[in-house]
């Protein structure tokens, strides 16, 4: 899983990066808010760990932006900051952070929280995948909706201005349905009335 760490303090950023690499993440570092935002937009990391107070753009502003942009809205965001007042936690979570951890952080607690994030991010990405599969399926079904010009005599369907095709091939091309051929009782009766051709 790819992770972005944004912190202007190199000491904290280095420690975080090392820990996350050990926990199986592919880590990118940013030391100011603007660089972090550019990375979010271009690489869409599923896990983002933000310091609050950073040059160029604060972690709080970043949270807002991440949530407002459909390209990044589903990322898991942890605010990691030494601002530990209750009002700060509320502001951080209200801005769109999924979790709020105070510095100096306890390594094991951070690991556990990041694993929660990893789980949520995985569920989220599976969900996104499933929804897009469903949308795809729905799009196929919808192709058969609307007005279909059909010949009243031979039941061929007009596929464009000049060509008419068999109902079977038309439906096969516009849906995931397939045909199995048989004969209905009415047709069976007609067939026996016509009878075998006379010799």
């Amino acid at each position: 899983v790819r992770a972005l760490i944004a912190d202007d303090d190199r000491v904290t950023a280095t420690i975080l990066a090392s820990a996350l690499r050990r926990w199986g993440f592919e880590v990118t570092l940013a030391h100011d808010g603007r660089t972090a935002w550019e990375h979010v937009v271009s690489h869409r990391p599923p896990m983002i760990i933000l310091d609050w107070m950073m040059p160029e753009m604060s972690g709080l502003d970043l949270c807002h932006r991440i949530r407002e942009d459909p390209r990044s809205a589903h990322a898991y965001v942890i605010l990691l900051t030494s601002r530990d007042a209750s009002a700060d936690r509320v502001a951080g979570l209200d801005a769109g952070a999924d979790d709020y951890v105070t510095k100096p952080f306890d390594r094991e607690e951070l690991r556990a929280r990041i694993m929660v994030g990893k789980r949520v991010a995985r569920i989220q990405s599976e969900l996104i995948e499933r929804v897009s599969e469903l949308q795809q399926a729905l799009a196929n079904v919808r192709q058969l909706e609307g007005l279909i010009p059909i010949c009243s005599y031979c039941s061929r369907i007009r596929s464009d201005q000049d060509s008419w095709e068999q109902m079977e091939s038309y439906v096969s091309a516009h849906s995931s349905a397939t045909f199995s051929h048989g004969i209905c009782p009415t047709c069976l009766e007609k067939m026996s009335e016509v009878g075998e051709p006379e010799r």
């Binding site: 303090d9 000491v11 420690i15 030494s82 100096p104």
Partner: protein, 115 residues
Amino acid sequence: MGHGTTHAFDRAELVEQLGGDEDLAREVIGLFLQDCPVQMTAIAGALAARDPRGLHAAAHTLKGAAGTITAHRLAEAARLLETCGREARVEDATEAWRMLEAEADRVLAALRDEV
């Protein structure tokens, strides 16, 4: 956590926080030795310019780094300066600055012995 400790920093706590990684401990100590004087200069500059926002930002960064490196007394001194900045009481920062300078000297000396 060791806020009341007389140690400049807590080596055992730092290594534990780094998952037992001694090489990483040396690396971040090296980074702190470079960055701490830069942040001190930024704080001194903000105090001289009577710039509360600058003081708040610079002291905040040093507080975070000092806390991470387990220099808790230094982090506390930085926190006092951060508060002075946030509350725009630059004139009250003199005592905290004296404390910060003395503690930073002690921490940097102790860290230099580590690398």
